[in-house]
């Protein structure tokens, strides 16, 4: 089911949580609402669900205006950040709840419910836990049960609030991949909220970047990474070095081979760490930086450089390169290096 949000605004007292949000999500997408905490992403998710009312604007699901529909009649599945499993019910009863509370006319028979619940528990690979209570489960298991419970009512939209927020790092990694493949299998339009850009890039087919209650950019993960719409997105998605032309960086930047057009005066250059090439400097004059330190990130090496510039000493520049390449350069701490900046994004 497609989702259309038109002109959604929400204020808490004088604080504007959402400021005229317009968003269209085509059917079958897996969308990440990404932003720093307090940017309004959870509020937006709750407004789509009907758990919160917008002050202004409409929510359309499949072209149908659902703004005034109660949460129980929107046909959505909601997975809460802390799972919100019914603590006095077994796993089975939790998943069966949505089917059992249906009005008599549409309620399946108890054997049908049992069949469906077991099928869902098998889908999340936890059927063997069906008679346990929530407090006997691990975080990852609870998360998957919460998902099975939300899917039981066959929602046309699945909404997940920080689905991996409360999990261990290793469990989180597994669940991300699992959620992605599950979405592939079910193809139900899904939106999840996250503050973790890596998670958004890895799981989502579309990313919506929010900040201060506004949408900064919407697009495929690669689009957003390669073509950030503004300085906020550039800084928020991935690492970036920021060079300000006002801060005497101009001359230094020119020596790195970066073209600086006249109309870029007063702007800042955002350079991704992997867009910086490093060579051992042949002599002191051609050196733009000194290698200060490096960290092993697995396949990549992150290199900390100190700018060799009298105007702006001690400023750190980060570069990244594959492990092998770094080994071949045979660099040591304190070495003078020359830099080539291949690509930059310019923002005000």
């Amino acid at each position: 089911m497609s989702i259309l949000l038109s002109n959604i605004s929400k204020n808490f007292g004088k604080f504007s949580a959402l400021d005229h949000i317009n968003l269209e999500i085509p059917e079958g997408e897996l969308v990440a609402l990404l932003g720093p905490s307090g940017c309004g992403k959870t509020t937006l998710l709750r407004i789509i669900a009907g758990l919160e009312q917008a002050d202004e604007g409409r929510v359309l699901l499949s072209g149908e205006d659902k703004t005034d529909h109660h949460v129980s009649r929107r046909g959505i599945g909601f997975v809460f950040q802390h799972y919100a499993l019914f603590r006095h019910m077994t796993v089975f009863d939790n998943v069966a709840f949505g089917l059992r509370v249906k009005p008599k006319k549409t309620r399946p028979s108890e054997p049908e419910i049992a069949g469906k619940v077991h099928a869902l528990l098998e889908l999340v690979q936890l059927d063997w836990l069906h008679d346990r209570f929530p407090d006997q489960l691990s975080g990852g298991q609870r998360q998957r049960i919460a998902l099975a419970r939300a899917l039981a009512v066959e929602p046309s939209v699945l909404l997940l609030d920080e689905p991996f927020g409360a999990l261990d790092a290793s469990v989180r990694k597994d669940l991300r991949q699992w959620l992605r493949s599950l979405h592939h299998e079910l193809n139900v339009t899904s939106i999840f909220v996250t503050h973790d850009q890596e998670e958004a890039m890895e799981v989502a087919s579309q990313v919506v970047v929010l900040n201060h209650g506004r949408i900064e950019q919407q697009g495929a993960p690669s689009d957003i990474y390669d073509h950030p719409a503004n300085a906020f997105v550039s800084k928020f998605i991935g690492q970036t070095n920021v060079f300000s032309l006002e801060h005497h960086d101009t001359q230094w930047l020119q020596t790195t081979g970066l073209q600086i057009a006249d109309d870029r005066q007063g702007k800042t250059a955002h350079v991704r760490p992997h867009d910086i090439d490093i060579q051992k400097a042949s002599d002191d004059d051609s050196a733009q930086a000194i290698l200060k330190d490096w960290q092993h990130l697995g396949a990549l090496i992150r290199i900390e450089l100190v700018k060799n510039s009298p105007d702006h000493p001690n400023a750190t520049v980060y570069a990244e390169m594959p492990n092998e390449q770094f080994k071949q350069l045979q660099l040591h701490k304190g070495d003078k290096v020359s830099l080539r900046i291949r690509n930059a994004h310019w923002f005000h």
Binding site: A49, L51, H70, V71, S72, R73, I76, G77, F78, F80, H82, A84, L85, F86, R87, H88, F97, G98, V101, K102, A146, R149, A150, A152, V153
Partner: protein
């Protein structure tokens, strides 16, 4: 340096000394606590039972079977039966409103819920007299329409209702605050109506705290003296509740009657205590 090599012999006695002190202090504190309880709780209870049966079982049962005592017991039960369900309902509504909604004057409501705890019961009774008594605000109107509240059963009910209304709400509010509303929201998102959500999700989660509140509310409703004393008028066989009956009997030197009544209230208190422990244990388990 010497001390370093002698660590064990030096340290051991001081450690023992410390433990010794602790034991001594522990015994003293325990003795004070137990002695206090024995003197001020167990001894009076024993005296109540002793005095009630001082003239034998026959006199005891006769004292309880006399019409005035029967009327007092009946009125006490009736009062509890009327006020406890009402205050359970009120407690649920108040706890729900306070923990689930944001509204203007919420903290004022929270403070007002505690009012009966902070006001002397006698003052509470007096307020009802000032409102509904013959000289009170609504007095003339009430007598015009021939409605009796003060010195009648409705007054007793009102006073008890006022005195006991915080109990259920006070038990539920902290629990419901801590639980949050996520489970309820989850139930709603799964298509449950508000009513089904309350019965199947909220109530099972708060049932032990609710029962606990009801129990305390009931104990107070049956045992309330001050406020009821002011509005009752002490009409024998009509407006005397059990605590008032005890006082009246005692003042008339009917000691067996007074203590027999008191023994029923004491028995009620003991049953309340046992149920309270059971409920606390159940609450701890969940």
């Amino acid at each position: 340096m010497n001390a370093m090599t002698n660590v064990h012999p030096v340290k051991a006695p001081t450690l023992q000394q410390a433990l010794h002190d602790t034991v001594w202090v522990r015994w003293l504190l325990t003795a004070v606590a137990v002695g206090f309880i024995a003197l001020f709780l167990c001894l009076p209870l024993a005296i109540v039972i002793f005095e009630a049966f001082a003239k034998g079982w026959e006199t005891y049962s006769a004292a309880l079977l006399q019409p005035d005592a029967q009327a007092a017991i009946g009125l006490t039960l009736l009062t509890a039966l009327a006020t406890v369900p009402l205050n359970t309902l009120f407690g649920l509504c108040a706890a729900w409103a306070v923990t689930r909604f944001e509204f203007f004057g919420k903290s004022l409501l929270m403070t007002l819920i505690d009012l009966p705890f902070s006001v002397s019961p006698v003052i509470s009774g007096l307020i009802f007299v000032l409102m509904f008594g013959a000289q009170g605000w609504f007095g003339p109107w009430l007598s015009e329409h021939d409605i009796k509240i003060i010195f009648a059963v409705p007054g007793i009910m009102l006073a008890t209702l006022f005195i006991t209304f915080p109990f259920v709400a006070r038990e539920l509010i902290p629990l419901m605050q801590e639980m949050g509303s996520e489970e309820e929201e989850a139930a709603l998102s799964l298509g449950a109506s508000g009513w089904k959500t309350f019965w199947q999700i909220t109530l099972p989660n708060i049932k032990w705290a609710l029962l606990y509140g009801v129990l305390l509310c009931n104990a107070r409703a049956m045992g309330e003296f001050g406020a009821v004393s002011v509005v009752s008028g002490h009409i024998r066989g009509m407006t005397n509740t059990l605590p008032l009956h005890v006082e009246v009997s005692y003042n008339e030197y009917d000691f067996v009657g007074a203590f027999a009544g008191a023994s029923i209230l004491a028995g009620l208190a003991i049953i309340t205590l046992i149920l309270k422990s059971v409920l606390e244990w159940q609450q701890g388990k969940h």
